[in-house]
Amino acid sequence: MLRMQNIAKRYGATLALEHVDLEVAAGEVMALLGENGAGKSTLVKILSGLEHPDAGSIEVNGAVRAIASPGQAKAMGISYVAQELSVIGCLSVAENVLLGDTTIGVFRSQSRLARLARPYLERVGLGYIDALRPAESFSVAERQLIEIARLLSRKTRIAILDEPTATLSETEIDRVKAAVRALAAEGCAVVYVTHRLGEVFELAGRATIIRNGRSFPAVATSSVTVDQLIEMMLGRRLDQMFPERRGGGGDELLVIKDCLCPGLTAPISLTLRKGEMIGFAGQIGSGANAILKMMAGLLPIQQGSISLHGKPFTPSSAHASIAAQIAFCSDDRKRDGIFAARNLFENLTAPTIDGISRLGVIDRTREAVRARGIAQQFDIDVNKLGRLAGNLSGGNQQKVALGKWIGLDPSILMVEEPTRGVDVGARAEIYRHLRRQTDAGLSVLFSSSDTHEVHGLADRVGTFFRGRLIDLAPASTMTVESMTRAITHPDLAA
């Protein structure tokens, strides 16, 4: 169905793609893997007509074609689903599914559109939803499925899905996977870009790996292991994903007693020690991040008491929490984690502007010293501090989002989804940095929908289900399986 050969693309001095081949058959799901910056997104842009290759050929259905524009790509049956969904919130589900369909004619009553959209929605497992409601009233996962239903309605022959599950919880992911299978079953060639390697084995028959602008011959997923895939992507051996734990149990730092806040259905008590890392596992909406948000001053405390350093503390606002040296990184890095249009000097010193100023004037030497100090701690290239944060890879952005708090000398660092949108190589780095901070005496609270991550990283693990803390115990006493049970069906947990 699709054969791209010898694709090369240069942006100024940087060679984004040097030599890439990609072949996908009709009805096949081909995983496209690679670290951030390897060239995946450039390849995807070429395929969807947003960029033009400097060299190489593209065959669609056996004929050599040039894809000059997104419109032309669409006419060839190539559809691209970006990470940022293009579902239009104020339009109804049916309108979204049939968006751009010119064959329907002028008589577009909502009920007729709903009838026409129905079969596509059923095939992606959305048969139960009311197609007349606006799309914005549905969850991210459901909107993702609506997007796939649109691909079906357009009789898409080549579909490119860019990290469709990046922001979803595990049960939601299953639904998306089923929809992707349905898409392939219709004879569509699917290019599936993901960072979640587990999905690759379940979904894709083969995987194409890109590293530094070059592709490897596609490998059958049945003949490789996860570690082999990771090593191919990184080009080096992956010794261990998670850093070693070193006990982590100093004095009691934070004591939360019978606290309740929006998102929780039962009061929570816990104690965080100096140098300890506690991870909360739970699906999106399970309340795993509620305590973090409450401590950050973003959610009101409805009952209970908190003591910090042995003194009562009320996180009444974001200001109050920062003043108490509690740092919080939300899971929406693009929105409030970094300043994309500003350089790293400014990003890394944003929480401590007064600390780098004298009489209200910024001392550029202090600023440089502080930024460079953080950069060294977090393995950020010191020579790249003049770059804009938005131009960095997801992993480096996350290092900036975390690292900026170090200047504040926090006592507690709270992180939601520490590795969302971070590729597999940088993930290990983030884990190492977080661990290094706790080794230095900082306490860390994090929440994640990735059970492996919580189990592998945290000293103690909390599991959440429907606003309840199911269990809080040392990670060594838990398995990933028992945790997965706890966050999906706690009643079945032992």
């Binding site: 970094i338 300043f339 500003r342 400014e346 440089a368 060294q376 010191v382 003049g386 900026k404």
Partner: protein, 324 residues
């Protein structure tokens, strides 16, 4: 902590200002226009005419520099600047006429700070700088009209006349003020902690809030700065002509905004510097001077300035996208 090697620190100092490129483009535009025009128009390429151009840009430029602080903070524009100017001019004239120049200056500063603060609160509460300042603009114009009883308010005094018409070192006071305030605003934005807060708030209001920056205070401060710049212009204008009226500066809001846009300051905020607004004002003034001397008809002049604004905004937008 870490002894920075000289080469690294130099490179960083250069690269951290890499975001300044729109200013260079405008600067090149100014120079190019100067040279082209100089070749074609006699009496254009003279020091005297350069002074004339800067003088013509001064009053618009000072407000544009203040306006740029609002744009940089991510709040687009204040559409109340012209009306606020008339209101402050009327206040200045009334107080100066009865209590003297010093009292007039103090009154104008106090009222400007209050007006800026109130508008800041309104922008924060409504979340919409355009609507909030538009409403305030109507109120300011109305108040100016009531306070002046729609008449002409006169002031007298040698000091006021010197402020309005003096030429220290052969350069008009207004041009000095333009120069000094541009440098001041540039320093404020690029080098002070307040300026850093303004820029970060503009770059991402959410991220600024999450980093513990008091974004509401930053927005109020930006409007106060703009109001103070407007106060300076009101003061100079009243002093120059020894009078104030309620309909002063009518229709000037477009000029202020045009200068900010032609200067290439990103509308989404967080990128650029007040220097660009000043250069934008000079570029427009240059263009107008050129057209004036070449006898372009009024319609053509307005259309060309409009097209330049559209072209500049479009170019910066496209370049900005390529840049990231």
């Amino acid at each position: 902590m870490i002894p920075p090697s000289l080469s690294v620190s130099l490179r960083q100092h250069l690269s951290r200002d890499a975001g300044q490129w729109p200013a260079f483009i405008v600067m090149i535009g100014v120079l190019a226009l100067f040279i082209i025009a100089g070749a074609a128009t006699p009496s254009f390429l003279t020091f005297g005419n350069a002074l004339v151009i800067v003088r013509a840009a001064s009053m618009t430029g000072i407000v544009a520099v203040g306006m740029s602080v609002i744009t940089l903070s991510g709040n687009l524009f204040a559409l109340s600047a012209a009306s606020l100017g008339a209101f402050l001019a009327v206040i200045f004239a009334i107080v100066t006429a009865s209590l003297g120049l010093a009292a007039g200056v103090v009154a104008v500063i106090v009222v400007a700070i209050a007006a800026g603060g109130l508008q800041g609160v309104a922008v924060v509460i409504t979340g919409n700088p355009i609507i909030a300042t538009l409403a305030f603009g109507a109120a300011f114009r109305g108040l100016a009209s009531i306070l002046s009883s729609n008449g002409v308010l006169r002031i007298n005094g040698a000091a006021a006349i010197w402020i309005g018409t003096g030429r220290p070192l052969g350069v008009p006071t207004q041009s000095w003020a333009f120069l000094i305030l541009t440098v001041f605003a540039w320093f404020l934005i690029r080098r002070t902690s307040l300026g850093r807060r303004v820029i970060l708030t503009g770059a991402s209001r959410d991220a600024a809030h999450a980093s513990g920056i008091g974004v509401d205070g930053v927005i109020c401060t930006a409007l106060v700065i703009m109001s103070l710049m407007v106060a300076v212009v009101a003061l100079f204008t009243v002093c120059q002509f020894s009078e104030a009226r309620a309909n002063l500066f009518s229709g000037y809001d477009f000029d202020y905004i045009a200068a900010v846009l032609v200067g290439g300051i990103a509308l989404r905020g967080g990128e650029g510097s007040p220097l660009q607004a000043a250069l934008g004002a000079i570029l427009i003034s240059l263009l107008e001077n050129l057209m004036l001397l070449n006898g372009f008809s009024a319609g053509l002049r307005i259309a060309i300035v409009g097209l330049v604004v559209v072209a500049a905004t479009g170019t910066f937008h496209v370049l900005g996208r390529k840049h990231r």
